[in-house]
């Protein structure tokens, strides 16, 4: 839920350095969220609303609230152009595929990944079973920050310029994708594959509405309805299962 526009990739650095810096910065901001949530023991929504404002302020300060126009060529391998493709497939897509694989292995087949499910399922039980709950929660937010840092590189590389509110509104779309993908908002349930499909669905709905020649604003309406149907079906199924 970090809106921070990690647009620190500018600076005309070489590609690896720029990506590294932005991932590290993302990680640090995520770590801050994690510390506040895990050790301050307050509601994640509230804390991230608050830090979103603070991060936004930092990014406005850094760029003097101007729009950055010249995206350096060093980022082209991540962009939309010919340089951004390997065998005709966009590199950013390849990165996503690799990340999906890593995330799937991590969440399915490692102890650390299973701990997340355990904590989400029943925090107390996880604690009693020897899971270091705070540390794992902290890690979750750290990972979020790192991934946002990486995502911001791709966002920057794909745009032609960089406004101040490049990240605004993204958090809602992302939550929508995750929830449509079957992740339980109360924690403990969800899958990598579902999230990928959810993201694809959200994007497909948005493109579909534009392709049909409808007003692009209508796509939000359908995303909203998709959320209600996806979650509603889940809830009704759950209730039917419990009644049996």
């Amino acid at each position: 839920m970090i809106t921070a526009k990690l647009v620190l990739v500018q600076a005309g650095l070489s590609l690896p350095a720029a990506v590294l810096i932005s991932v590290v910065v993302g990680g640090l901001l995520g770590l801050l969220n994690g510390v506040l949530i895990a050790y301050g023991r307050v509601h994640a929504i509230i804390i991230t609303f608050g830090t979103a404002n603070i991060f936004q302020w930092i990014s406005l300060k850094l760029f003097n609230s101007t729009t950055v126009n010249n995206i350096p060529d060093t980022l082209a391998p991540l962009g939309n152009g010919a340089a951004g493709r390997t065998l005709g497939v966009p590199n950013s897509f390849l990165i996503t595929v690799v990340l999906v694989a890593i995330a799937w292995v991590y969440l399915r087949h490692t102890a650390g990944g299973r701990h997340f499910y355990a904590i989400g399922g029943d925090q107390l039980a996880a604690e009693l079973a020897g899971v270091k709950v705070r540390q794992r929660v902290l890690t979750a937010y750290l990972l979020t920050g790192l991934l946002v840092g990486l995502a911001s590189c791709i966002v920057v590389a794909q745009g032609s310029n960089l406004g101040q509110n490049v990240g605004a509104g993204k958090e809602l779309a992302v939550i929508a994708a995750v929830v449509i993908g079957g992740t339980s908002i109360t924690g403990g349930r969800g899958s990598v594959l579902g999230t990928v499909l959810g993201a694809l669905l959200v994007q497909t709905v948005a493109s579909g509405v534009t392709q049909l020649g409808w007003r692009s604003e209508l796509s939000d309406l359908f995303v909203g309805i998709a959320i209600i149907i996806a979650v509603g079906a889940d809830l009704i199924r759950e209730r039917a299962r419990r009644r049996r």
Binding site: H43, I46, N53, I54, G224, I225, G232
Partner: protein, 373 residues
């Protein structure tokens, strides 16, 4: 996703320590008592902060640092910003009080959509003002009721349901008039009759002029909300279901209807806010409630800052009012302290810091003393 905190079986959050638990802290020293009051009585803390903020900016103003005078006239004029904020704070109050992770992300989108409806009714179709306001409020209530039905009857997590309706309403508001605002003659005249500052009768010559919106919208809403929460069975039921769902169910409270009602009330208030914002902008804008960071985030900030426990069941009207005034006057000061668009940026920072601080404080007070008032 969240770290659950111990739910306190304190129905009102105002429980007084003397009558409370038999703790060995009877012989507290004065400083300890002051700290306790600051931490557990949110009203006290807010009042202290408010005085600090006003005095600080007045001193800055006296030394000529600010770009304009930070005097009572300015403070009073700034209060017009408090009208929508405080009212949406009340909307969130109902929803958050009702518990089970209650939160309403869609208030801003309801304001947008209801603004457009009001624009059509009053600005295009020429309905009489009272009928247009009534229709807008009803539309708001219906939109809120959709949230309520999803959350209370189907069992959606409030965050998801209101996120989805936020999208839907926002999109409808934009599409309904092809993205164009409505600013016909009657709408433009609305500024004059609802938002302008007026001199009060009788005592008006001694105190600064006050924006009309305070009397036309904020005070009536304030009184009704307070009466509803503190003096009616419905209000007590909201506290009861927020404190303990199951216990309320066993006490024969219609938990679902009560909870759905809280969301409908939130929508109703948002509908009224739509009328206020149309008057303030002198135009019905399709993005009235969702532009920038939107209206939901400030409203939730105010509720949390005002001492409403995000876990439900604890929170008071007075906290919301003080928190609103604090934020509005602080923003007003910040606007004078920086030139150009640095001001709004610092307002963002201040809002964020306050929210994090308030949330940490709520959690700390709950653990240290049990129950933040």
């Amino acid at each position: 996703m969240s770290i659950p905190t111990a739910a306190e079986p304190d129905l009102t959050g105002t429980q007084d320590d003397q009558s409370g638990s038999p703790t060995p802290e009877r012989a507290e020293s004065l400083p300890a008592r002051v700290i306790r009051a600051l931490l557990t009585q949110r009203i006290v803390l807010l009042a202290v902060l408010l005085v600090l903020v006003v005095v600080y900016f007045m001193v800055l103003g006296a030394t000529g640092y600010l770009t304009a005078a930070y005097d009572f006239d300015y403070l009073s004029a700034a209060l017009i910003n408090a009208v929508p904020l405080a009212m949406l704070g009340f909307a969130e109050l109902f929803v958050i009080l009702s518990g089970r992770g209650g939160i309403d992300l869609s208030v801003g989108a309801i304001v947008s959509l209801a603004s457009m409806i009001f624009g059509f009714a009053y600005g295009r179709w020429g309905w009489p003002l009272w009928l247009a306001i009534l229709a807008t409020a009803i539309v708001g209530a219906v939109l809120g009721l959709v949230n309520g039905l999803l959350v209370a009857y189907i069992g959606f997590p409030a965050l998801i349901a209101t996120l989805a309706t936020y999208y839907a309403y926002k999109s409808l508001a934009v599409v309904i008039n092809n993205q164009r605002p409505i600013s016909t003659k009657p709408i433009q005249n609305l500024y004059e009759s609802t938002a302008r500052s007026v001199e009060l009768p009788l005592i008006g010559s001694w105190i600064p002029n006050v924006p009309k919106g305070i009397f036309l919208f904020l005070l009536p809403t304030l009184v009704v909300v307070w009466l509803l929460l503190a003096r009616t069975t419905y209000g007590r039921r909201v506290y009861a279901i927020g404190t303990n769902d199951v216990a309320a169910q066993w006490s024969a409270i219609g938990v679902r209807a009560t909870r759905a009602g809280a969301y409908a009330l939130s929508g109703l208030i948002s509908g009224l806010v739509a009328v206020v914002t149309v008057g303030q902008f002198a135009s019905a804008r399709p993005d009235a409630g969702v532009s920038g960071n939107g209206m939901a985030l400030p409203a939730i900030t105010i509720a949390v800052l005002g001492g409403v426990a995000i876990t439900g069941g604890i929170g008071r009207v007075s906290g919301i009012v003080l928190a609103t005034v604090l934020i509005v006057w602080m923003n007003a000061g910040i606007r004078l302290a920086f030139e150009g668009n640095a001001g709004p940026q610092y307002q963002l920072l201040a809002l964020g810091v306050l929210l994090v601080f308030a949330a940490l404080l709520n959690g700390f007070a709950l653990r240290r003393y049990g129950g933040a008032g």
